[in-house]
Symmetry: C2
Subunit: 503 residues, 2 copies
């Protein structure tokens, strides 16, 4: 019967089904957003089951064999337009991957994640890994099972990596990280041998409301559309999107440290601009989705670092900042401020790390997850393993679990294989930004006048509007004319930090 229908009819049916699945997925995203911003404590248990039911339906609808048949039929039709073909190819790929998991398994995972998330909140509050490990163990067991169900070559972790970054494998990531590890360590060592910069002025008494207002102003300047999104507070800053017209970011504010709020705002706005730039007419379809997590992260890191830690950009904003906090910043020059916000100093917390040592935070988590999923590291051993590796690679002593292995929320969401995309994101960011500088006339001058609209325009044209049309690598090739080249990132670091630390 399906064979007698026109491609147009079938494609309409496909769109209709995919958009209903998207409604469920984004409804779950609203519940998750609420869970991390406004949910009262006792609401957690029922919220967990509500989310699990939504995950289950979304998955059930997507792995429905009649949808599979529809996709296969459309995949063989020759009379689809190019965009339609691409949507079908990608949806079929997703279908083949997803159908390996039963709705019941997806529900189990969702419920285990909710429990793990709440255990994490409690464990952090009590500063005790012991309160967390049982729920984490259950989730790790499920993730191992997930890897087996998904299937993989060589390493079970490959199955999980591929979910966040198509084509990523232990083999490829080992290679990239091996390429970058030694040069990064050398930069760190050279910086350590130079006179250190002062960033004491970033800490002090920074009233929360003034910080919030300043952050909102930054977000607006970057081009975030507040008619199509909002910012709230949460324990851990994040971006989520329910469609390109409703993109939510969060931040957290430390009344004694100005940097947390500022660069989390800039970082999340980078993510949000990408989401607001996706084509809304492809709601629910692959071409309406982001390309990959590494590309997503390239957007946040580009804004956070290439713009948000540049002297150029701060030139016009810093005077205003000084008037907001005259006591704290009145006597720090722009040059001092610029050096301070780029201080390289290996430390405990990933989200507060400088651009150089940051990648050791990622590499440590990557190694840990690899072993955890392979079964060569036990959940119980995480804190000891973590602390040892922080000592080895970053030279820091972890004083407690809160500032150690409990610092990130990702595992509690079931996200294993996610962290490597953070480093890839930085590497892509450097390459994208260098290309934009070449391709956009007067870009540096515009940024120096606080005008980032030309940059956003370039990002919208080169990256955002394509949705998931290209893989990370294809998109990189398309936007920059080359595959990912780690030297853009290393050159950027050498140039920037050579100047700051005078080596």
């Amino acid at each position: 019967m399906i064979l007698t229908k026109s491609s147009k009819e079938l494609y309409t049916e496909y769109t209709h089904r995919m958009q209903k699945i998207a409604d469920i997925k984004y409804s779950a995203a609203v519940l998750q957003w609420d869970q991390e911003t406004y949910l009262p404590a006792k609401g957690a248990d029922f919220r967990g089951r509500q989310l699990a039911t939504l995950s289950e339906i979304g998955h059930e609808w997507f792995v429905d064999p009649t949808l599979g048949l529809l996709l296969q039929t459309l995949d063989e039709r020759a009379d689809l337009q190019e965009d339609e073909k691409r949507n079908i190819t990608l949806s079929l790929e997703d279908y083949e991957k997803q159908k390996k998991f039963s709705p019941a398994f997806v529900r189990l995972l969702s419920e285990a994640s909710s429990r793990c998330f709440h255990a994490w909140l409690q464990a952090r509050a009590a500063n005790s890994f012991a309160l967390y490990k049982d729920e984490l163990q259950k989730l790790v067991d499920l993730k191992k099972q997930e890897a087996e169900l998904a299937g993989y070559e060589k390493h079970p972790y490959n199955a999980l990596l591929d979910q966040y970054e198509k084509g990523a494998t232990v083999g490829l990531l080992d290679q990239v990280f091996n390429e970058v590890r030694v040069p990064l360590k050398e930069i760190l060592d050279r910086i350590a041998g130079r006179p250190q910069v002062d960033d004491a002025f970033l800490r002090g008494d920074y009233p929360k409301q003034t910080q919030w207002d300043f952050g909102m102003d930054l977000i607006r300047r970057m081009g975030f559309d507040f008619e199509a999104g909002r910012q709230d507070l949460s324990e851990h800053p994040f971006t989520t999107s329910f469609n390109p017209h409703d993109v939510r970011i969060t931040t957290r504010i430390d009344a004694h440290d100005f940097s947390h709020m500022t660069w989390s705002c800039i970082h999340e706005t980078g993510h949000a601009l990408y989401e607001q730039g996706l084509p809304p007419h492809y709601y629910g379809l692959p071409l309406g989705e982001f390309a990959s997590l590494s590309i997503h992260e390239s957007q946040s890191r580009l804004w956070e670092n290439n713009i948000g830690r540049s002297e150029r950009w701060w030139k016009t904003i810093y005077p205003r900042l000084q008037t907001l906090f005259p006591g704290q910043l009145g006597s720090a020059s722009l040059e001092q401020f610029y050096k301070g916000i780029n201080k390289v100093h290996p430390s405990l917390i990933r989200t507060e790390a400088d651009e150089v040592s940051y990648h050791f935070h990622v590499m440590i988590r990557y190694e840990l997850e690899k072993q955890l999923i392979q079964g060569t590291l036990s959940v119980d051993s995480i804190p000891a393993w973590w602390n040892e590796n922080y000592k080895t690679w970053l030279g820091v002593t972890v004083p407690d679990d809160k500032r150690g292995c409990l610092q990130d929320v990702h595992w509690s969401h079931g996200s294993f294989g996610y962290f490597p995309t953070y480093s890839l994101g930085s590497f892509y960011a450097a390459q994208f930004f260098a290309t934009a500088e070449k391709q956009v006339p007067g870009l540096d001058e515009a940024i120096g006048q606080g005008q980032t609209a030309p940059l956003l325009h370039w990002l919208r044209e080169s990256i955002h509007r394509h949705g998931r049309r290209y893989t990370s690598e294809e998109l990189c090739q398309q936007a920059t004319g080359k595959p990912l080249d780690i030297n853009y990132f290393l050159d950027y670091l050498l140039d920037k930090y050579g100047n700051i630390y005078n080596f």
Copy 2:
């Protein structure tokens, strides 16, 4: 096959299915809450379709014939426990009603409501009924269709009334309103002939943040559990619940009128205490739901009026209020304050109306809806009809649609047949409160000391814990020993206002 299963097995399956339906229903409630509190403007279109998809699934699952068969089978089993039997009876009743509507029709209604809600927001902002009427017309047409699908005797409006208040009919409501209309008008007239009370001190400069803090304190004093709920701001105050552990209320604050925020807080908290008092172990089942809308409203009105506009209760709170607003209230005595907050003065806005004239607002809407659904009044004629009836019954001239027929959100939610429950709620409230005063030793003294815990305990025991076990009438009989008797309400008014206005 179903016949061979034990009742225990079947009942477990029933529970499981009902709780999953509840997950969907409450997920939609989260999206609706977000829509009225935090949704950015452009997010409205996709939110509409997300809500429509959730309504559609929730309905589809509930009217699934296999659930019908399960309910019918369980209904005939003799070995269920009493609570189980009651759940099955009520669910089967719901099923028989709901199966008359196709999931596609439910989706249409949901989408039309979303569009109507946004048209309402715009129409209010622009103060123009013209911007609203087309969407309202579509919704009214759907509601008429709904009445036909549901079936009714005598009057199509009966089909809609029954959805909010089981057993309510035009016949019964005409009778109740006829009984109350003349005595209420007499009270209004007697008051109008007496020297008027002064409430000018309620208006003035009341800083929003101080109001908010005071409102939060009131809510806490009333026994609202902030670990199981929260308050936010919205255009129109409301209460929603995602389960008894997560009950959300909203308020609005007028910086020039202290009364809006205060009595909306108290009113919504009354609703919220009921929701927080429902048995959480019956999540998703009828015994975990509220009895009816009139009983729900009895809870909000009891707190708002019988407590929140009593001299007794304010005795301990008023001194604190005076210290918060010394310039505005410093020179108003408790007696003046008490009289001021009970000033009877027919006016334009229902939610700001006094306890006496309030019911004319309801009766006008009731008559209007009755005719609208019957087709004897057109959507176009609403403003003129409205303004004429406000002149006739309340003696006020409606200056514009915003303060006229655009003031309430209900129609935009598709809620026709809802308003009468507001009056019934007041009538039940008077009867419940009079009974509590008789049954709880020392209740008045406790309230005079600001202690409302004994009252809350009585409400929890007599009303909240029963969920939907009894109809409004049964619950009234059970809690007060009598069916609804309008004289409790009239006596309360005569006593209270006879004292205030000295007649």
